[in-house]
Symmetry: D2
Subunit: 164 residues, 4 copies
């Protein structure tokens, strides 16, 4: 892996809390802070592309993500994304030659104690350098083919299609 | 201090995040978990009274808090409360004989990394056993007379009335 | 409280871990980082005086701490200190006119998840501005007269002399 | 991956701090707590085999680890290990048919704020399900062939042999 190209689109992973409005908002990409702290031994760069809840992503937004991948010289991609439509975006990215793309995110904001963000990013980083060409999702400690996984909103976890 | 009576009313300190709704909600009183973890050397009990943003507290709610203090045998009280109307509730509690009452809360949810919740609770605990009879606010590392302090929402901090 | 003068002497609160030696060492004063993060509403300054386990403090070291207090213009002092001989140092500081001195520390390094450091510092900060002239210890959520408290090493907590 | 068999051998990742001795000691396997918190979507079990600094591991210990792998029905293994001799143990495990073995650990104890433990375990979990048969090391965000990597103790990181 010569370079890990990271594209951020928003989602729960980057949510912060603003007391003055008693509300949350999507902040700076947490992945920059996390990979910096972890002192990783590979080259990486972050492209902050969108800052949205994934329920609010439009088809134009997904085209933008696809164009960002197509327009990059990199071979390895990590995309942080809201969980609710992560599968749709992953499917939209299929069919690009010679690229390994892993999407991940978090069920709890990275700034929460006990958040799954650091673990999920680790999982995505470990997977992206071992996987063949294609699009993949790293959530709940598993590396999923986006055609065989769904988010179970009631259980708040990713699971195989047809289970539960 | 024979017993620290803790009354919880909600507020940012107890906010947790529910991904399924992409929203924050007030959860269980965090102070129970925090004082348990800290292995404190005094007797305490928690009375979960309300679970509201302090902007939504009514006069009836404040009467309820006052009644809870009046109805208790304890002499020392720590009340967790949202920050936006903490001063109003503190003023509403004035005039009760022979009781030391400290209100505190947090500008960031206790479950956030870097939250001020643990520090503020520590500050309130340290103050309540050293203060004379009366009602006090422990926020931003200071112990305030509620008649001389306000929350500055823009700066997101408590400050003396007349400053800024 | 016009100014909180903070003197650091080392102890568990400031211990960090060095993998290269599989050992720990006393690092920079954690209280500077903590009070900075907490955005406190009073003036404070840190004087890093010693960097020792409190079991290794000599009488000359305690004289140095006393001289640092005597040499300062401040009226309010917070001293971070190892827990094993905190009581001895506190007693050594008694008899200084017109000063409020609170010693605190931690049973677990501040950089540990779940450490009591932030809570204890909060407790000391809350107490120091409410206490009369004298020397005090803030540990395990209580504000102690140093003549009536001891560290119980087996139970790893502070308790009244004569208990247990 | 039908089952992830986890073998723990000690190392920095599991170090905890005991104030009564002002010393660190290896505690319970942190990976059990971490994978439990992360709500992972695969079956796993933990076999606590050793509790040593990796500098203290003997050849007999490494034989024990190899025997534990050989004696298991599982195909996928994650081994937590001290960093100083992780490469030696990895090499000692080579040559076992039809097994994917990933070793990981941490440069800072898992119980430290900012530790690399959760990230490294995520990385190992992501890699183990994507890698072919063989023995691998997941450290510093990279998945290494143990014949091409070393720990640089001065820089406190893993790097390719021949670099630096």
């Amino acid at each position: 892996m010569k370079l890990l190209q990271i594209i951020t689109t928003g989602g729960t992973i980057d949510k912060i809390y603003f007391d003055e409005k008693s509300d949350y908002k999507i902040g700076e990409p947490e992945i920059s802070r996390i990979l910096g702290d972890m002192n990783v031994g590979f080259r990486w760069q972050v492209q902050p592309l969108l800052r949205k809840d994934s329920l609010q992503l439009t088809e134009a937004d997904r085209d933008l993500v696809r164009a960002a991948v197509e327009g990059s010289e990199a071979r390895h991609f990590l995309i942080t994304h809201g969980t609710d439509t992560m599968v749709e975006t992953a499917q939209r990215l299929q069919g690009l030659d010679d690229r390994v793309i892993v999407l991940t995110g978090a069920l709890n904001p990275a700034r929460f104690i006990g958040s799954d963000a650091v673990f999920n990013i680790g999982c995505a980083v470990g997977a992206v350098q071992c996987l063949p060409t294609g699009v993949w999702i790293a959530m709940n400690g598993r590396v999923w083919d986006p055609n065989t996984v769904r988010k179970n909103r009631d259980a708040n976890r990713f699971e195989p299609i047809g289970s539960g």
